[in-house]
Symmetry: D2
Subunit: 146 residues, 4 copies
Amino acid sequence: MENLKEPMIESKIKLRVRYVECDPMGYLHHSNYLPYLEMGRTELFRQSGGDYRTLESEGFFFVVTKLSIQFKRPARFDDELEIVTRINRKTHVRIDHDYEIFHLQSRVLISTASSTIACVDRNGQLIPIPAKIDFQLPDGVTGSTP
Amino acid sequence: MENLKEPMIESKIKLRVRYVECDPMGYLHHSNYLPYLEMGRTELFRQSGGDYRTLESEGFFFVVTKLSIQFKRPARFDDELEIVTRINRKTHVRIDHDYEIFHLQSRVLISTASSTIACVDRNGQLIPIPAKIDFQLPDGVTGSTP
Amino acid sequence: MENLKEPMIESKIKLRVRYVECDPMGYLHHSNYLPYLEMGRTELFRQSGGDYRTLESEGFFFVVTKLSIQFKRPARFDDELEIVTRINRKTHVRIDHDYEIFHLQSRVLISTASSTIACVDRNGQLIPIPAKIDFQLPDGVTGSTP
Amino acid sequence: MENLKEPMIESKIKLRVRYVECDPMGYLHHSNYLPYLEMGRTELFRQSGGDYRTLESEGFFFVVTKLSIQFKRPARFDDELEIVTRINRKTHVRIDHDYEIFHLQSRVLISTASSTIACVDRNGQLIPIPAKIDFQLPDGVTGSTP
């Protein structure tokens, strides 16, 4: 894998809520928001020139170490949503993301979230994020060691 | 449904991690912890004499409005876990829970979490928690309106 | 809802395999193919001018009564797949679909499946498929009562 | 791992349907039956003295190559179910299972299924089932090469 291109610091993905993801209330079940956030991170990484699958094959893994999420409005089967994912902090072993989830048409904000992921090896030991993953941070955001 | 029995303020459930819940790292995927917390709430409610399914048939629903979770150690396929669920605050429309997840044999704490659930009607409008759900809070914990 | 447009008898949808859908072997877990088939049915219905969510709000539901699936090749995280869904038989209460799942780039066929869905009311009782859902069948395929 | 004990040829497991597994109809979603079948296989293997996790660590994997399932009655949130799993045929690379799913209290049969699993190595290549997995077949059932 080459060094990353001038990286994106925000990804926007669109998706439709699946029937299987909805619960007896008719709402997107709260646990099913988390894979959407993961998809947001994957696309942000791809837009930066990265490929998470290749990274794993090279022995680098990212695990979620904490996550916080607020549910403001429900989503229902077949709703079209937009997931906005941003990096807001990066250290040599961790990356913090913020997320917003919108109803695509109405632009109503239905959920906000934040998470921390850490780089680990095959045995789950914390290791430095590979140098080639050189995400550019927004102005004023300075990564520091954790 | 009769008024609830002298309620439990803590539930402990045991479960085995399913193969389908684990990811390519071999770890229980972080999103799959959330259904475990929901199962903990359901059992806490059952131990208090409640029945969430009946409650829904009567038009009372509980939705998660926020959730925060820390992942300290991984869990793997076939691991036996214990989920400890406690109520730590209750208002007339909301209940806050805290959770701890342990490896059953080693007693290693692998995750902690907290959540807020709110009572809503069929249309998702906030409504008071039915009086019959009269959870007793631990000493020194006083519910107040939100 | 108006009567359906000249209906499609085949839908093709593209999707990427999600990390959460893959198991410790690194493969798309076999149970996670079934929601893909459901998405294929939903899109086939949409292309025909239908809207499954509206149909449910009107009291018509479709339940899967049987399903058969063959797994020929694995799929992995981030693979792009194409799901091809066809109606091959329709009676006044049931619709049979056939499916093929391909790796999008290589066109390798990784799975074939077939299913039967039946129309039921809110109480799960078998009811006739609403007349407005007038799927046109391919030449030579004649629907008959079950 | 020692050679297996006199093996069981049937496992019976009990479980409760989870809220997250149910769909907007209020029914256990049809895709969520498949993990139950997998749990039935895992327990059948465990009762025979086997340990699927250990087997994977030794480089033996079982993949589902085909599966067929009939849905006769719905299941709902909090229902207690029993999954009965039987081996009905075994060759040197494949095992066929049959399944019945019952409502635990009423003994109503809600689903029947059958599947074929095949033994593969880390690269997904078909390999002989390890000799130590010496499932005894019921009288009159003779395994043969596929």
